[in-house]
Assembly symmetry: C2
Homo-oligomer: 467 residues x 2
């Protein structure tokens, strides 16, 4: 990285973000000066993903001008990288023929995703004008439910026959290289299109020209069905280190493939959904930073309502204890400590359990073992925290008041055990009912821990303080 | 999936987990009956990742017997898939020559990971006995800091020269296919090993045999440096849909590559770390479900200590308000509602901001814009919740007591705004200091919101109730 490091010399990712910002601002400046030739030259050496990024950063009015500067082949690739909101707004500004040119050449899986976003009327019109084989490919994908393997696969793969020789196969690959998603994983089918083997381009390149595909292909097939959930697809590719995974229909006929780059995007979206669910935010698959204020608030209000309800119950329990609170006001000072710790211990347990379910690592222990271990961990943590809290309370908060201090300590122990057991067992329960543990666990754990925790606290207080 | 669906016919992932369990239990039964030939036959058609899984599930005493059943080539692949704890325990039980045979043939990146786990004494002995070029490859990797590109890269790649013809290049690939990590991305270097171009096997297969590499290679290089963080590496591969990414040293010389399958594992680990951090659990890169009870508890106790401290402060504030609580005991009933809602609104804001930083999506808005929008969302949510809480309090918890009800409602609004602003701004603050927002945000947000929230509540109560 010496002199003149952009755009002709290699770009390190250390400064990739700064360089992207530079491309974006230069592009905007050139377009505003109407220097179209300069803008065009600027974009030539830039990676399609970065061009898409630069276009997304432009004011809406000049996005379409920038897009039109791109050579046709690159335009389609850049379009596939654009956010769906930008894809949609460009689509509305394009001339009819421009739209068709792009949409007809997109990969079927990317096109299916675009069609999901566009208004039904536009989709109908576009589909009618696609070339017959592209229309068929897209209809095939759109027939499957969203988030399934069928919906995210591409029908553009290369299939070989067992009796092909290696050199015949390489010829076939050469012919189809420009219309297929990958040339590295090749699928062997019989006359009824049943998947019978898998061969990699690596195997073909290493093999002798006259060997047949049947001799070198792998027969230990791993595949998914069209209705397999996309998260499961991602897990399979990750587990076996595949570059692509074949998708078959109910009769085991090969209908498409899913490539590892799609899996990276799926994993990112699924992770965002999981993290949002754990943080109490709903997700709809779109970008939180591109939705309006009201949508953002709506995504969060449901969870807050649930908590409001929970806290109303907790509040009623506390206000029903007015007699004891009146006599020992100091008890009120510990309520946030108890509900807060309970909530956090429960969140810790449910976090490790839910994440363990998503990565399949939890199955190295059985559910009972996990719950018992969490319960023991809760008892251990509760003992430590309970002793500390007793000492702190006795020294600083209610100086010299041992009965109140020990009530707090013992309650903390009980709440920690309760919270660990609830936090580790509820996710298993929801999962066995077919519900998403990440979404369901937090409200129920909070409710159980808060309500039971406060009840334990006051009943212990009555017993110890003899009120 | 008709008759006899295992192990000779294709396996659907629908029943993959059940089938894995079957392999595991059959393997154990066969080994206990000392039927080694049967066990060997059972494992032949199984994918290496699944064999590793089956071995991990066996009792420690027979793991080594099962492992010895594998043909040599497959043994190494299976070994690379094993958990590091199992790798380590096998290593201790192997005979010296067995260990050497396996370790010498592992990929340098997998070997470096194993050496990280083994005791220093064993590593020293093993390194001394590796073949010279394997020793050099491993030393190279071990010289870089953990979690950097240098540490996770493999030095086993294929490099070409610009003046090579396509057919020369294909010959080179054929020769090196068995010792290289990937044959699909090929790297072009000059006489000083500087990276000058990238060419894919796809390009080579499609090109004419007499074309030169220089004519068909791509010159828009994307690469990382040896010291680039592995999370950044994963982002780059994901962004550009690469199958492999070149790693260069400070002089821009090619020293290794990182492949997409490693990136999938990195993303999974990083996601687990982020999710654990948000849930208040420390992670050390190992599997929570394989560590002991005390380690599991230790991972959680730090965060609970921080909360205990926070809650001690909150508790002191509440107990300092004894006079007002004595007069209006009902005020105590709303403390969990206020701290709970504050905590949750704050967690929602910090969740979306931290996740947005990790996926780079947040940079579509500036920090100020994000914080302002979160503040507005907090005001909106706080208004809705405040009105509801006022009504609920008035009707059910403190029937007919309007001053207390409105105090609760207004406090809730103030706390929601405070929590959203703290939740969205603190992650930016920590990031600008180079600290991990996922780790640092929760304690500080909770503290700020709890302490300030309780202060706001009691001061409002004094003002409104005129005490």
């Amino acid at each position: 990285m010496t002199e003149n490091n952009y755009p002709s010399s290699p770009i390190s990712n250390f400064s990739r973000r700064e360089l992207r910002d530079l491309v974006r601002s230069q592009l905007q400046a050139l377009l505003e000066q109407q220097n179209l030739a300069g803008a065009k030259a600027l974009l030539v050496p830039v990676q399609p993903a970065d061009v898409a990024d630069a276009i997304e950063g432009l004011p809406e009015t000049i996005q379409v001008i920038a897009f039109r500067l791109l050579p046709k082949n690159e335009a389609i690739e850049v379009y596939e990288y654009l956010d769906s909101t930008v894809q949609k707004s460009l689509c509305e500004k394009f001339k009819r023929q421009e739209v068709l040119d792009i949409v007809d050449k997109m990969s079927p899986d990317d096109r299916a995703r675009l069609f999901d976003e566009l208004p039904a009327k536009i989709v109908r019109r576009l589909r009618a004008e696609l070339s017959p084989q592209e229309r068929e490919a897209t209809s095939l994908l759109l027939g499957y439910e969203s988030e399934t393997a069928g919906r995210i696969m591409t029908p553009e793969y290369i299939s070989l026959k067992e009796y092909f020789t290696v050199s015949q196969s390489l010829g076939e690959i050469r012919r189809k290289a420009n219309v297929t998603e990958t040339v590295y994983s090749l699928y062997v089918t019989d006359s009824q299109r049943h998947l019978t083997g898998i061969v990699s381009l690596r195997d073909l390149v290493v093999a002798e020209p006259e060997e047949t595909v049947g001799e070198i292909m792998g027969r230990d097939l791993v595949f998914v069905h069209t209705e397999t959930d996309r998260e499961e697809v991602a897990r399979v590719i990750q587990r076996y280190d595949f570059l692509a995974l074949p998708v078959v229909d109910r009769e085991q006929r090969l209908v498409g493939i899913i490539t590892v780059d799609d899996v990276l995007d799926i994993l990112e979206q699924e992770t965002t959904e999981d993290i949002y669910a754990l943080g109490g935010v709903q997700s709809d698959g779109d970008n939180y930073f591109q939705v309006g204020l009201f949508t953002a608030a709506r995504r969060r209000v449901v969870w807050l309502f649930v908590l409001l309800l929970t806290n109303t119950v907790t509040g009623s329990i506390i206000s029903a204890q007015e007699d004891i609170l009146q006599k020992v006001v100091a008890l009120a000072a510990f309520i946030p400590l108890l509900t807060g710790t309970g909530g956090n211990v429960g969140a810790q347990s449910s976090t490790v359990v839910i994440r363990g379910m998503n990565t399949d690592e939890i199955w190295k222990m059985g559910p009972i073992q996990v719950i018992v271990r969490e319960g023991l961990a809760g008892a251990l943590l509760g003992s430590i925290l309970g002793i500390l809290a007793t000492i702190w309370a006795y020294l600083f908060i209610v100086p010299g008041n041992f009965p109140v201090s020990i009530t707090v300590g013992v309650s903390l122990l009980a709440i920690a055990i309760l919270a660990s057991v609830a936090g580790s067992s509820l996710p298993f329960l929801f999962r066995s009912f077919g519900l998403d543990p990440a979404l369901m666990s937090a409200p129920f754990i909070t409710t159980a821990v808060d309500v039971l925790g406060v009840l334990i606290y006051f009943n212990l207080a009555r017993a110890i303080l003899q009120i």
